[in-house]
């Protein structure tokens, strides 16, 4: 038993000298493959993991607490900090939850832009996944190529909203900005580029790569029952052969009008999930290509018309007295949604991202719970890692695609 004093402080859960033959090691919280601040306490028998204990909370910022102390519009930029790889999907999930609570719908043009941004963010996130996953496993060149394409996507995001990581590009009730000139043709070029690179670079480098297959096949096998029980969603669930995509099953935004497939992998292992991510990128490109012509058919309105909750457009505020008064009240006091509760799931690149909002009719949410996919995927690690070898731990963490901004919140 440890006898902590000032010179030798207390180490949580650590007991290096043990009676049996196992060894306890700390994986993280500062480990390049831990994808953030994950601390894994691993008990090893030789090289085999006997027990794994994911310890989280190193990035806890109290975002749910902050939500209770901020008006609804104030909180929106904070959601960027959840899944900081694909911020727009968080902004959108939150905005959609509030919109559903208010009972408003974004205008058509905003919907087209939002869906396009969501899919662009899915591409950014999946490119990031391929890059870091390959880097973790040891294929460094893929990292360089994938980050090159991700850079183009981030440039597109920057052209749209001015930010590369913390986008805040969605507002409650619509989007703040229209698409800049020439953006759509750049988007088209980007889609062509990624499609070409998917086929000729990533697939060529990885798909039939002997080492890549040896490292990924039959590693991190999640049975469909486990995937359901552990609350796996998104690619983790579809990687276990269960075809459930919220975009398809409970369509939101424009997904019901779009033609796309839900790729499913039934091998249940990391290699299947990698193939799934690649296939999802192709589907995202397909969706974006369908959305580009839809943009031209829309009216220029960007924000929903709901004077009780949403400020009028800037021109009206600057010209009409009543719009200015309402805007002043909305900025200083915040909107007051109806009393009630709502849970809205969306399909973020990582899985099901949902916001549960409990409103008491105040300008501050009474309770906001962010259902983050990575939180549950981290929980799964304690069972998934047992019995694997230490070299596969990195592969498995990589293939769960967790991001700690939303695990700790």
């Amino acid at each position: 038993m440890q006898q902590p004093n000032k010179l030798s402080p207390f180490f949580e859960n650590l007991n290096f000298e043990r009676d049996d033959n196992t060894m306890v090691i700390n994986f993280g919280p500062q480990h390049p493959s831990a994808h953030g601040q994950l601390r894994l306490v691993l008990e090893l028998d030789g090289e085999q993991v006997v027990k794994a204990y994911p310890d989280i909370g190193y990035l806890h910022r109290g975002i749910e607490k902050m939500a209770e102390n901020m008006t609804y519009n104030e909180f929106l930029p904070t959601t960027d900090r959840l899944d900081y790889i694909a911020s727009t999907s968080n902004n959108y999930a939150y905005a959609l939850a509030v919109e559903k609570l208010l009972g408003i719908e974004a205008p058509r043009r905003a919907q087209v832009i939002r869906t396009m941004l969501l899919e662009l963010n899915r591409l950014i996130s999946h490119l990031f996944f391929i890059a870091t996953h390959a880097l973790d496993v040891g294929a460094m060149s893929v990292f360089l190529y994938a980050f090159r394409e991700r850079e183009f996507a981030m440039d597109l995001m920057e052209d749209y909203c001015g930010a590369r990581l913390t986008h805040s590009s969605v507002r409650i009730g619509g989007v703040p900005l229209d698409i800049p000139d020439g953006w759509l043709s750049q988007m088209r070029d980007f889609c062509d580029k990624v499609e070409y690179e998917l086929e000729h670079t990533y697939n060529a480098l990885l798909q039939e790569n002997r080492i890549w297959k040896m490292r990924l096949e039959d590693v991190g096998v999640i049975s469909p029952e486990d995937a359901l029980s552990w609350g796996c969603t998104g690619p983790m669930l579809r990687g276990s052969g269960i075809a459930y995509d919220i975009r398809k099953e409970e369509p939101y935004e424009l997904y019901s009008e779009l033609d796309f497939d839900i790729p499913v992998a039934d091998t249940n292992d990391s290699y299947g999930r990698y193939r799934l991510y690649m296939a999802e990128m192709t589907e995202s490109i397909k969706i974006i290509r369908q959305l580009i012509p839809m943009y031209d058919e829309t009216e220029p309105q960007l924000m929903a018309h709901a004077p009780k909750y949403i400020s009028a457009p800037k021109e009206e505020i600057m010209t009409q007295n009543y719009a200015l008064m309402q805007h002043f009240v909305l900025v200083t006091q915040g909107m007051r949604p109806p009393k009630g509760e709502v849970y809205v799931p969306t399909e973020s690149p990582k899985g099901e991202l949902g916001f549960y909002i409990k409103s008491e009719g105040e300008p501050y949410a009474y309770r906001l719970k962010c259902r983050a996919p990575s939180f549950y995927h981290t929980g799964l690690l304690q069972e998934l890692l047992v019995g694997t070898y230490i070299a596969d731990v990195v592969t498995i963490i990589g293939s769960t695609n967790i991001v700690f901004g939303e695990v700790d919140r």
């Binding site: 949580e12 749910e64 509760e341 849970y343 799931p345 981290t378």
Partner: protein, 263 residues
């Protein structure tokens, strides 16, 4: 006279509410309007006492007694096809009703239906863990304990998950201030330097927007720059602003070294 601040909720309040403001409610429908939900509710209410049920914004909300939670979740999983527990947590109603609301968010993948099982539980009582039914409750119940102090019985490892193990207080309670309490302000000082160092270091500043006028280690005033850490409680002297000078070098004559002429 000092303004009265209620102690049971220290969260931010609306600074002004119109006297005539009427709080509307979200549209609520009867469960019988949706036949799938009605069927599920019928199965559930046959075995468990249902206190109230409604459909709110597309998902069914069923309230039960907190003692029936395990049984209800089991029936919903095995007989109604809710194969996934996507979320569970609590809402603090201690100030208003003297209890917590615990909710389970369930998903039926086959029929693409979502429902929420809610129950009220008094402070100090424990809920029955649903980990044997859904493993996703493992982390969720730990988080609920960490944030609200609601213990789950028969949980495999009932300890804090996000906050440190030796933390005091449960951060998502309405009585817990946003900036942290007294314990929070001394936690890192005690942990790193020991309690003896409290006087020398002082409590942690947990207000990120606070600016200390006399703190010359983190702040400086343009035109009144002083050395790092200098004491300015007596005031500081004005310093002239020195602009950096850019020396313009004429490369066209003199050295004659021009890049494009190099081989």
């Amino acid at each position: 006279m000092r303004k009265y601040v209620p102690k049971d909720s220290v969260q931010k309040k609306a600074y002004y509410t119109d006297r005539f403001h009427v709080v509307p409610s979200t549209p609520r429908e009867d469960v019988s309007t949706d036949e799938v939900f009605a069927k599920h509710l019928e199965t559930l209410s046959a075995k468990v006492e249902v206190k109230s049920a409604r459909i709110e914004l597309g998902s069914m909300v069923v309230e039960i007694n907190h003692k029936d939670n395990y049984k209800a979740v089991e029936i919903l999983r095995d007989e109604c096809g809710y194969a996934q527990l996507t979320e569970m947590s609590a809402v603090d109603y201690l100030a208003k009703d003297g209890n917590f609301e615990v909710f389970y968010q369930l998903l039926n993948l086959k029929e693409a239906k979502r429902m929420r099982l809610v129950m009220r539980i008094e402070q100090g009582l424990a809920v029955e863990s649903v980990v044997p039914l859904f493993k996703s409750a493992n982390f969720a119940e730990r988080e609920m304990f960490d944030m609200f102090g609601i213990v789950s019985n028969n949980h495999p490892l009932m300890k804090r998950i996000i906050m440190p193990d030796d933390w005091e207080g449960h951060p998502l309670l309405k009585t817990y201030p946003l900036q942290g309490d007294e314990f929070a302000s001394w936690y890192e000082v005690d942990k790193i330097f020991g309690k003896d160092a409290r006087e020398a270091i002082g409590p942690e500043n947990r207000d990120p927007s606070r600016i200390d006028r006399y703190d010359t280690k983190r702040f400086s005033r343009v035109g009144y720059e002083v050395p790092f850490g200098a004491d300015i409680s007596e005031g500081e002297t004005k310093t002239e602003i020195e602009y950096s000078k850019t020396f313009l070098v004429d490369y066209t004559k003199g050295s004659g070294k021009q890049l494009d002429k190099r081989k």
